[in-house]
């Protein structure tokens, strides 16, 4: 009887409700559905006729707490509530919704039901997301085709949950990219934990990554959870993964495979749900060939690969970045340095930037500090830029990666010999072999003396000789 009278009132505004572009439900005092507008029918997949009289929560399927507590409170207190949540409709789709609940009254001012307005916020969310992507993009500067490709790939990688391997020279923005990937992924609201695998010795790193139990080793007075557990449900960023020791690589591989591990000294397995992003400036393929990196871990990490191009290969980005950083630092320092003189620009655009964006940023900071005028002149640049121009010869990134094809040097080219040596496969091995040969030559073949020259023990020399098959 009460429902019928309430419905009569509702039918007056029925057509009006259908004209509103949001889902609207009217619940009676027993919190059962009295009416839904067309928009809500489309949203939930239920029509008013079948939903009428059914307890509202079963039809709307919101996540606003159990037993429709919020509706009951609104009905009781009369205070409107606006909150974000979601519904799952009959077509099995989860729709993010902004709910507004308010109490309805009859002609005599008595509570007669609850009005729920459901605003589909999926459109707003998409807009927010695209705005967010733009913000991330503005954090990583670059308009060169090479960077455009990186941005395109990033938007694809952000949507997946697979492991990502970011490769690229030092200072190319691998960290920024990893963070941007996390921020635009579904794990954005969860922690992003960065671990530098090259910064800590093996034993410490294991405890840092996987945690340890109390008394696991001398000095382990308290239990530590470790980075993996800290990053639970979020992303762990393992930078300089190429520096990870072989035993730890095994442990990492098992974590990647099973998503569980034993903390150091622990007997209880810990399960984690973590996305792994790894980065390295080394060529992991070469490391695998040299036997310094496990092949299975390489393939496990290399599910998705993103290569950050070196600055010297990013057409037109040098000028953009120089202007950006100069503006940034001159504002920070309260200076009025606004531009670079043409000669300075000429030098700066021809410089190969072995340290990539990091180095460019430092040059801009130096110039902003030193420059006394409005435009940065040659005298305001760091001196080493001119020294290296004459002494170094520039290779392209391709030639750094594969030293097989010698590149013709062009006038004005500047090279990064140090970077080339360290990046070339077997650079140190060759160097060490040469050192051993030189020492042996000096000592006239006497191994003890040669070991002394090298500053090694005799057994170390013997081991190295065996390793390089020099005996």
């Amino acid at each position: 009887m009460k429902i019928a009278s309430a419905l009569q009132n509702v039918s007056v505004v029925g057509e009006l409700l259908d004209g509103i572009p949001h889902g609207i439900a009217i619940l009676g005092t027993d919190l059962c559905i009295l009416r839904m507008n067309r928009f809500l029918e489309a949203m939930t997949g239920y029509i008013t006729e079948e939903a009428k009289g059914v307890y509202g929560e079963f039809i709307l399927r919101t996540n606003l707490g159990t037993k429709n507590q919020i509706c009951a409170e609104v009905l009781k207190n009369g205070e409107s509530v606006a909150t974000d949540g979601n519904i799952i409709n009959r077509r099995r789709k989860k729709i993010p919704v902004h709910f507004t609940l308010s109490r309805l009254h009859d002609g005599e001012g008595r509570p007669s039901g609850v009005l729920i307005v459901l605003e589909d916020s999926s459109v707003v969310k998409v807009e927010k997301m695209s705005h967010h992507e733009q913000t991330i993009r503005t954090e990583i500067l670059g308009y060169s085709p090479q960077m455009e490709r990186v941005f395109e790939l990033m938007s694809v990688l952000a949507r997946t949950d697979a492991s990502v391997l970011i490769t690229g020279e030092t200072g190319t923005g691998k960290d920024l990219i990893a963070e941007a990937l996390h921020k635009s992924s579904q794990r954005a609201r969860q922690p992003f934990i960065k671990v530098n695998c090259g910064a800590l010795p093996e034993a410490l790193l294991e405890s840092e990554l996987f945690g340890h139990v109390k008394g696991a080793f001398t000095g382990a007075v308290t239990e530590t959870v470790g980075m993996f557990r800290l990053a639970h449900k979020g992303t762990i960023f393992l930078t300089e993964i190429g520096d990870l020791s072989l035993p730890l690589q095994v442990k990492l591989l098992s974590v990647l495979d099973d998503q569980e591990f034993f903390p150091v000294g622990g007997s209880k397995k810990v399960k984690v749900d973590v996305r792994i992003i790894a980065a390295t400036h080394r060529s992991l393929r070469d490391e695998v060939q040299q036997g310094r990196f496990r092949e299975d871990l390489f393939y496990r990490l290399n599910v998705l690969n993103l290569h950050t191009p070196p600055l010297r290969e990013r057409d037109g980005d040098i000028r953009l970045l120089l202007d950006h950083f100069l503006r940034q630092f001159s504002t920070k320092l309260g200076r009025d340095v606004t531009d670079f003189s043409p000669e300075t620009i000429d030098v700066l655009t021809r410089y190969p930037y072995p340290g990539n964006v990091r180095e460019l940023r430092n040059i801009a900071e130096y110039s902003a500090n030193i420059c006394q005028g409005k435009a940065v002149e040659l005298k305001d640049l760091p001196l080493y830029l001119f020294r290296e121009e004459t002494s170094l010869v520039l290779p392209s990134a391709a030639s750094i990666m594969s030293s097989a094809t010698p590149r013709r040097e062009e006038p004005g080219d500047v090279s990064v010999s140090v970077a080339a040596v360290s990046s070339t496969a077997g650079g140190w091995t060759e160097m060490e072999k040469k050192m051993i040969l030189d020492a042996l030559r000096q000592s006239g073949g006497n191994r003890s003396k040669a070991a002394g020259i090298l500053g090694w023990g005799r057994t170390t020399l013997w081991r190295k000789l065996k390793k390089y098959k020099m005996v």
Binding site: D30, I59, R92, K94
Partner: protein
Amino acid sequence: MKMMITSRGDFVSPRFDLSSEVLVATYYDQQLMEEPRSLLLADVSAEILCDLALKENVAVVVCGGIEEEHYQFLTWKKIAVIDSVIGPHKDVLRLAMDNSLKPGTILPGVTSREVAS
């Protein structure tokens, strides 16, 4: 045959992913083999429920609203899913054993104040 019903109180819970209670019933030839077991979950998550369905080796899952990905996962694992069911789980169980429960069924008994209490 084993069936899992996501429940809340005496009713099928409105949402699969927010169910903290399930009813596991074993039946044969439209007869219950034993009293249905009620399991309370420590955490509320669709993934936990999917895992539970697999571990319990159930053939049918009866639930309220369920997201497409979980529905697809369960059907891919050869578990029949009867979703969008509204009603008291006792009646739902009886209908399901009779093989007459269809997705989207709304049974009587969900219109009273008792639901909220």
